[in-house]
């Protein structure tokens, strides 16, 4: 008996529609996040992450409504991120049905938001998302970026992860901006380094292209969960195939 490693499909949602395209085998692209979340729920996903990439603040009400509708039909944990700036945003998302809320940019500009919200709502629902890039100075160090990897912060990744854990984050969602969209696999060295440096769970994200990449995320990367979007959205693999492959590779998985 042991805690299973988690597989988390991720939906990027803009103004209430899933973007990046979703194309399940035999089913036409729906773009409807509620329908897609429900399908992943039925397919055996361990959690679902919903990233609201809507740029404008006016569209936030759409997000809350979508989260409410997903939560009423999905009976696995739901993490919601994107545009979370204040304690009131977190409360609204939790009230709408999110189980965890992911904080990214706001944590950098206002680290106390993480502390305050962890104290108020409990560490278990506060995820800190980190977008990192390897520095090209040969140091092997990684830097934190904002704005989809466009703006450097000067903050070193491992120190930041430790600080966020100390501030009460319950989990870290680590995305490699170098690997995101490449299908070359997760950035394993930084995943391993951060997983070793903190006592809270770490989700590997960015770059998965094959089922062996998922395995490596757990074995070499030491991740507690793996996030994937396109390999599932485009029907390259089903969640069931991913789980079967992980189980064959000796990874504890919920089947």
């Amino acid at each position: 008996m042991s805690l299973a490693k988690r597989i988390i499909p991720c939906l990027d949602v803009d103004q209430g529609r899933v973007v990046k395209g979703v194309n399940f085998v035999g089913i036409r692209d729906a773009g409807d996040p509620i329908e897609i979340a429900r399908r992943y729920n039925d397919a055996g996903a361990d959690e679902i992450t919903f990233l609201d990439i809507t740029a404008s603040h006016e569209q936030r009400d759409t997000t809350y409504r979508t989260v409410e509708q997903i939560a009423s039909q999905v009976f696995i944990p739901l993490t919601v991120g994107g545009g979370v700036r204040a304690v009131t945003d977190i409360r609204r998302l939790l009230n709408a049905g999110a189980d965890k809320v992911s904080i990214n940019t706001a944590a950098i500009f206002n680290p106390d938001l993480v502390r305050e919200s962890a104290e108020r709502f409990g560490s278990q629902c506060i995820v800190v998302a980190m977008d990192v890039k390897a520095l090209d100075d040969g140091s092997g160090r990684y830097e934190l970026f904002t704005h989809g990897g466009r703006k450097p912060t000067g903050i070193e990744a491992i120190e930041w992860a430790q600080k966020m854990a100390d501030f009460g984050a319950g989990e870290i969602l680590l995305t490699s901006m170098d690997r995101d969209g490449t299908k070359d696999g997760y950035d394993l060295p930084i995943t391993r380094a951060i997983s070793d440096a903190v006592d809270i769970p770490v989700i590997a994200s960015g770059g998965v292209g094959t089922l062996d990449h998922l395995v490596a995320g757990f074995t070499d990367g030491g991740a507690d969960a793996v996030l994937a979007a396109s390999i599932f959205h485009f029907g390259t693999y089903t969640v069931a195939e991913a789980k079967a492959h992980l189980a064959q590779s000796g990874i504890a998985i919920r089947v």
């Binding site: 008996m1 042991s2 805690l3 299973a4 490693k5 988690r6 729920n41 361990d46 409410e68 939560a71 009423s72 039909q73 009976f75 696995i76 944990p77 939790l94 009230n95 709408a96 049905g97 999110a98 189980d99 104290e119 108020r120 709502f121 409990g122 560490s123 278990q124 629902c125 319950g170 989990e171 070793d196 006592d199 809270i200 769970p201 770490v202 507690d224 969960a225 919920r254």
Partner: protein, 215 residues
């Protein structure tokens, strides 16, 4: 006859998930409420909870829900506690520097050890977050149709060590044996979240909806 379920609303955490899972499991009449009359009139009661236990209990008591719950338990109404709801039913918790809980069960809730590791020395992360297996160490009507060692979703940093209580009906193993479920008379409570545990959780909720409170 329509059965009513009261989900106790004391302002902590997301109660919609519990409500919608109960509906999915077959409940037709679910009231999310802190009103004593409504709770006492219900055929069964769910006591959910997320967040820090001190704040949870403070609100619970401030609203008088502790007295209401005590009365309902005495009357034999089936009660289901979830997560911090379960922990609140114990005598005491070490969280927030030590808190006296409601005392429906003996036992003290503790934190997972710092630098927690398994028997092979591998680091175990805290919170205990994700799907773990539940070993049904005692038979109970709420386990009907659920396989032994089935997976349920956990998310918590504090837990009830299995050795703390004689009422443990389900165990989890996370480097240390913890209570996944406890039961006594008409009260059943889970450390895991049935409302987030997909088919196994929905089955447990369906069992709760037909349970007569006797075990």
């Amino acid at each position: 006859m329509t059965q009513t379920v009261a989900v106790i609303d004391y302002g902590m955490g997301n109660l919609h998930s519990v409500e919608s899972a109960l509906r999915e499991a077959g409940a037709s009449d679910v009231a999310v409420t802190a009103d004593a009359e409504a709770i006492l009139a219900a055929d069964r009661i769910v006591f959910p909870g997320v967040g820090a236990i001190r704040d949870c209990l403070a609100e619970f008591r401030r609203l008088g829900c502790d007295k209401t719950l005590r009365l309902a338990v005495e009357r034999g109404t089936p009660v289901l506690g979830i997560c911090v709801g379960m922990q609140s039913l114990m005598a005491r918790s070490e969280e927030n520097g030590g808190v006296d809980c409601l005392g429906f069960f003996d036992g003290t809730v503790m934190r997972f050890p710092w630098n927690h590791s398994d028997t092979d020395g591998r680091k175990l992360k805290v919170p205990h977050m994700g799907w773990n297996q539940v070993s049904q160490n005692q038979n109970h009507p709420l386990w009907d149709g659920i396989a032994d060692n089935a997976y349920f979703y956990f998310i918590h940093s504090f837990f009830l060590p299995a050795a703390e209580s004689d009422c443990v009906t389900g165990l989890f193993d996370y480097g240390i044996k913890g209570s996944a479920a406890i039961a006594k008379g008409n009260v059943f409570a889970t450390q895991f979240h049935p409302e987030k545990s997909h088919d196994n959780g929905l089955k447990l909720l369906a069992n709760f909806l037909t349970w007569d409170g006797i075990c």
